[in-house]
Amino acid sequence: MNAIELAHVTKIYRRYGGRHFATLKSALLQRSIVRDLQPSETFPALDDVSFAVPRGATFGVVGRNGSGKSTALKLVAGITKPTSGSVRVNGRISALIELGAGFHPEISGRENVFINGIMLGLTKREIQARFDEIVEFAELEDFIDAPVKTYSSGMYMRLGFAVAIHVNPDVLLVDEVLAVGDEGFTHKCLDKFAELKRGNKTILLVTHSLNLVERFCDAAVWLEAGRRQAEGDPKRVIDAYLTRVEESEDSLLAAANARAVEAAQPPLPEAGPAPEGPAGGDAQPDGHRAVEGRWGSRDVEIVDVALLDGHREPTLVFHSGEPMAVRLRVQAKRPVGDFVFGFGLFNADGVCCYGTNTWLEEMNPERLDGEAEVVFQIDSLDLVEGTYKLDLAVHKRDGFPYDYHRLLYTFRVKSRIRDVGIHRPKHRWSFSDGVRFKPTDERS
């Protein structure tokens, strides 16, 4: 038996423009209030979404901001009605959507617990019976008679959470509320969820914490722009979702890089007489300061830069340990005999992680003419997760720049391991017989 069933649910939100009614009077006179409340512009928050959650299952909903997750939850909670399609829920619902939504700041925590409980469908007697448990769960024994306005936001949220979870629902709807307390409280919440799960309660979990979905949920659905993209095994759904996130991250980075290169265009070198110094009269920034920019005489110009993954596909999102290639297309306006290609890698804090050039690596320049391609190949990108930037340059052996691109290329390294630092040296652990670990999926 399904606890929650959404069948072809579409929810269209209206955007109420400011100019719906000429005046209130005309709306009243023409008796068109109901009709005029039809919107001029609509926005589908959910588009033909169906999924079913069997009784006793924990079901995750993932997706980016604005993908319709919260709308789905509100529909299940009955707060809004679907524009078309049907939503069916069997059993008492408690929605952890906005914690402490009904709290009144002026009255005490005790009184608020009662009123909030009544709002959530409990009777006074039921609340009385659970009151001590609620207060203990919220860890507010000392403050329960103080007005709620004196509570810190954490206390407020904890109390809201405690009331909602003690409603003893058949169906619990949770919207990104686990970030309400400190580490200890979060653990308590998770334990409570596990308890509810054991009690064969149905949980619908909307969250950005993919970890939680993977660990906790029996199934998941991924929503994207109001449409269902994937449903089923949480791991599979999350992988599909992460792939999509990377793709869009990639295009965002690409756009940002294009803007950075664009913005860094200095005045054309021909415009000013600056044969020896940096073009445009810019003082050449100190090589150790992380300031974006581009300078040089442009006798040799870097016309295109591409970051390639292991399949030679351009991308800006890499996985730690995978190969990465940086491909430069350069163009020499006139043949030059003195040239050095340089590569610098910086992390988001501007710390130089690595820098090298062809001269340091003892490549003696002879001749560069016309168009050419230069590839800097990294076989294994051993960086921890984070955002990194590149310096790419062509210059003379004495440092005189032809074309210096400073921190103009941003890429991201992803990793499932949450290690810290910058560089991840290739490593492995080994243990003698006395050390044993559980299989990884039983962790936590």
Binding site: V34, E98, A101, E106
Partner: protein
């Protein structure tokens, strides 16, 4: 009604919360009408002593009979009109019967009205004027008629204010006009022909005049037919208000 427990605890919360943090607390329920009363007493007994006829002496008592129910009416409406917006969190985030919010505003102000009644009793004692015992039977009727009328209007205002925020601004002016178009600080018989017609069209006239006949004027209640007619009309208004509220209900969560 299904939500009795919820309504009563919300009304209690309203009352508790209102004066919490103020030095005089619940005393404000008495002080507010007294202050209003002293303003009008100043104007009409000191500045313009000839503005009312002797039939409505003692004038302060006459005014109390009208001002107390009027205060209930006007504060209830201004609170009800903003009730859905103030309770937006509940409507948007919790499954919550929205009609409760304006009704709670009306009921909370009714409790304030009851709390103000001791003032009236104090005035009656001071002036040694006892209303006729049989007339008092009509007092709860007037209260119920006013309750239904105010609740109906409150539902309509609450629902419309969500979409036309202007109402809140207009409302306070309308209420001021309405106050003067209701025989509270003057006697209905003083109004000239046209004025009388206008007053008769004003539903609050009949409620206030009923209170005055019950509490202030001696002799049989002459206004009971009007009052009962108002009761019927109020019931219809309430149903219409509820219907409109229900029609617009689904838009609240999005428009609040």
């Amino acid at each position: 009604m299904r939500y009795r427990g919820l309504v009563s605890s919300l009304v209690a919360r309203e009352l508790k919360a209102r004066y919490r943090g103020s030095a005089l607390g619940f005393l404000w329920s008495f002080i507010n009408p007294l202050l209003l009363l002293s303003i009008y007493s100043f104007v009409f007994a000191v500045v313009l002593p000839g503005a009312h006829t002797t039939e409505v002496e003692p004038y302060a008592l006459f005014m109390v009979c009208g001002i107390l129910p009027w205060t209930w009416f006007s504060s209830a409406l201004s609170e009800a009109s903003g009730a859905l917006i103030a309770g937006g969190n509940l409507i948007k985030k919790v499954l919550f019967p929205a009609e409760i919010l304006p009704i709670v505003s009306v009921l909370a102000n009714m409790v304030h009205f009851f709390l103000g009644l001791p003032i009236l009793i104090a005035f009656l004692i001071y002036y040694q004027r006892w209303p006729d015992a049989p007339d008092l039977f009509w007092f709860p009727v007037a209260v119920i008629v006013q309750l239904i009328f105010t609740a109906g209007l409150g539902l309509i205002l609450a629902a419309l204010t969500v979409h036309f925020r202007d109402i809140r601004d207009i409302l306070s002016n309308i209420l001021t006009l309405w106050f003067f178009a209701t025989p509270i600080i003057y006697w209905i018989r003083e109004a000239p022909g046209l004025g009388k017609t206008v007053l008769d069209l004003n539903p609050m006239t009949h409620i206030i005049v009923s209170y005055q006949e019950i509490l202030f004027f001696r002799g049989p209640i002459g206004h009971w037919k009007w009052l009962l007619a108002m009761g019927g009309a109020s019931a219809l208004l309430f149903l219409a208000g509820f219907w409109l509220f229900d029609r617009l209900r689904d838009s609240f969560a999005e428009a609040v």
